[in-house]
Amino acid sequence: MKNMAKSNPEIGTDRVKRGLAEMLKGGVIMDVVTAEQAKIAEDAGAVAVMALERVPADIRAQGGVARMSDPDLIQGIIDTVSIPVMAKARIGHFVEAQILETLKVDYIDESEVLSPADYVNHIDKWKFTVPFVCGATNLGEALRRINEGAAMIRSKGEAGTGDVSEATKHIRKIKGEIRALSSMSEDELYVAAKELQAPFALVQEVARTGALPVVLFTAGGVATPADAAMMMQLGADGVFVGSGIFKSGNPAERAAAIVKATTFFNDANAVADASRGLGEAMVGINVSDLPAPHRLSERGW
């Protein structure tokens, strides 16, 4: 085999699926609902866009069943920008995922922001060439998604609120549980795997390396440059911003400001500069005012 140069290029390998997420590190992924918004996001320095019909704040306000977006809308956004385009499928809805793969989106988000299609099973993501990102509120959930083939994880937060507190809670929880595993002895990992409800091999790998085997972004409630910088200081590899940009007073400037703050997250002067004169942030909802059935982060199992 060593002599068989350049034969059989292999698509859809773990390395290329996880690798694309590595390329997004240190960047901001922005929700967009039109091609125009996608262009604004790209010009502001988004590292990728998430194409969807309604941002989470509107899904929340309008209610009803939220589904995969119209293929025409997604296609229009793919045709408009050169950065990667992601799109959402409902949890467990493998046919929506098949459709998104034929559209050649660059990443599928199996997302709790949409109404779940299966309250027991998530999508078997190994069957796809296109990579998946999935949400998680804790390490066990992250490792179950990776076990199903997720090539990237985002902490969930509470989408469509503009309240960063749940995002903080989830990234702290995941990073804290990773640190706890790293300090355990080998023979304690069996019970740890049981308690995390996660596969032993993955638990062992996290304990050894001190990190998830895939990239970890954070999401759900990020609305300001300071929010984004805080997520990065808490150890996120990058940030998803959903409603926070296009539900604000000045989307183009806010988008660029969040990109700057994400790059120079450790430099308070740079984050302060990025925070100046942005106009109204999205109004938002306090997560504590949301009745439990309306909390999206509780979807996923």
Partner: protein, 204 residues
């Protein structure tokens, strides 16, 4: 390289910085992240990582790194670009976004996302005899290709169909793929050798 190892910078505005650092760690080569002009001044050679070229371009301009980078490149600082890094050090792009700029340095024309979307991303092995006697493992992720090369540019590797995926001009090396994702050390070792050679006269 006897005695003093060169200090390699990794441009850390956005992208797979950590993977490059891991390869340099494996090679035992000192390295540091570069985000500011002051940090740039301390390094003997610079790696521009994979990432989103449109974003890295914008960030170099927003944070006033573009001119200092161009100045050091024109003074002969060795540079190694992978994927988005290759795009950044190319003189010409055949499909730039409306306001995209590059730092330049390599007399080549590069096409971005030349293989299509992520579902076309692939792994393969390449021959690069000047770089390594062994086959090089290469991950192409939404990768660019080199469409045209100037007279002073050497081609280091091509795909089966002849498309150019690795080039060198003087101290500047640009490749379409990600040895840092594959964990293949050959290109980094080759680049560190180039950096050491540029320092050699000073230590002679």
């Amino acid at each position: 390289m006897a005695g003093s190892s060169p200090l390699i910078g990794v441009l850390a505005l956005q992208g797979d910085v950590r993977e490059h650092e891991r390869v340099l760690d494996t090679l035992g080569v000192p390295h540091t992240q570069v985000r500011t002009t002051a940090e740039l001044e301390t390094v003997d050679g610079l790696i521009i990582p994979g990432g989103e070229s449109t974003v890295i371009d914008k960030l170099t301009r927003i944070f006033a790194m573009r001119d200092p980078l161009r100045a050091r490149i024109s003074l002969g600082m060795p540079v190694f670009g992978t994927c988005a890094g290759l795009i950044m050090i190319s003189d010409r792009l055949s499909d730039a976004t409306h306001d995209q700029q590059t730092l330049g340095g390599l007399d080549v024309t590069v096409r971005r996302n030349a293989f299509g979307s992520q579902v076309e991303s692939f792994e393969t092995t390449l021959r690069a005899p000047e770089v390594s006697p062994d086959l090089v493992e290469a991950a192409f992720i939404r990768a660019p290709i080199v469409e045209q090369v100037g007279p002073d540019v050497r081609v280091l590797a091509t795909l089966d169909d002849g498309r150019i995926v690795a080039v060198q001009q003087g101290n500047i090396v640009g490749i379409s793929f990600h040895p840092e994702i594959s964990g293949d050390l050959a290109f980094h070792r080759y680049f560190v050798g180039l950096v050491a050679d540029t320092l050699a006269p000073a230590h002679a």
